[in-house]
């Protein structure tokens, strides 16, 4: 079992990877210019939501595994 500090560092890395990818997209000042149609913008947001959901689930499963002593 990894130490608490190692685990928190690992989680920090996972968390920032998930959130900063998303922020890079949604903080883009001219995001609309990157997607020619409303549909393509919505498609990107839908894909982003899926990535974020997957990363959230991985983080949660790692926390649960850690708390259960796995």
């Amino acid at each position: 079992m990894q130490s608490e500090k190692q685990f928190v560092q690992h989680l920090r890395s996972r968390f920032l990877d998930a959130v900063n990818n998303h922020l890079t997209q949604i903080q883009m000042p001219d995001l609309g210019e990157y997607y020619e149609t409303k549909e393509s913008l919505l498609e990107m947001l839908s894909e982003e939501a899926l990535y974020l959901q997957q990363k959230r689930d991985i983080i949660l499963s790692e926390i649960n595994a850690y708390l259960s002593g796995a």
């Binding site: 890395s13 990877d17 890079t24 883009m28 001219d30 990535y51």
Partner: protein, 132 residues
């Protein structure tokens, strides 16, 4: 100027591609992990690789390590895209002679400035596919 964008997240690849296109770069290719990228690099010459650090299967650091360890690919410039938390990853990348790194979240200006510092500029308009 052929550029390879490597990221497991398709939305990030699309965004980086868009930033580069708006900066005048036209010859852009993509790979969704290090393995695919290494195979592409063995088949085609790239002038720059922009790679994410956090990727499943093969991390960006392992990808960089393998490229540096392959004679034909060892001198291709690499720009690594990382998160704030990856300071140790940045140090490791510097050891592997990375040419630059950029921290997420980043704006298009940051990418342009970083490429400029690396001496990478888009081809002159009308300079042809190799112009630059």
């Amino acid at each position: 100027m052929n550029i390879l964008i490597v990221d497991d997240q398709s939305t990030m690849r699309t965004l980086i591609r868009g930033m580069l296109e708006k900066s005048g770069f036209a010859s852009l290719d993509e790979a969704d992990d290090g393995d695919v990228a290494l195979n592409k690099m063995k088949q085609q010459a790239y002038d720059l690789v922009i790679s994410d650090v956090h990727m499943p299967r093969m991390s960006g650091l392992e990808f960089l390590k393998q490229a540096r360890g392959t004679e034909a690919l060892s001198r291709v410039p690499f720009l690594m895209v990382t998160t704030e938390s990856s300071k140790s990853a940045v140090l490791e990348a510097i050891k592997l002679k990375v040419n630059g790194y950029i921290v997420k979240p980043f704006a298009p200006e940051t990418l342009r400035e970083k490429l400029s510092k690396m001496g990478i500029a888009p081809p002159e308009p009308g300079g042809g596919p190799e112009g630059g």
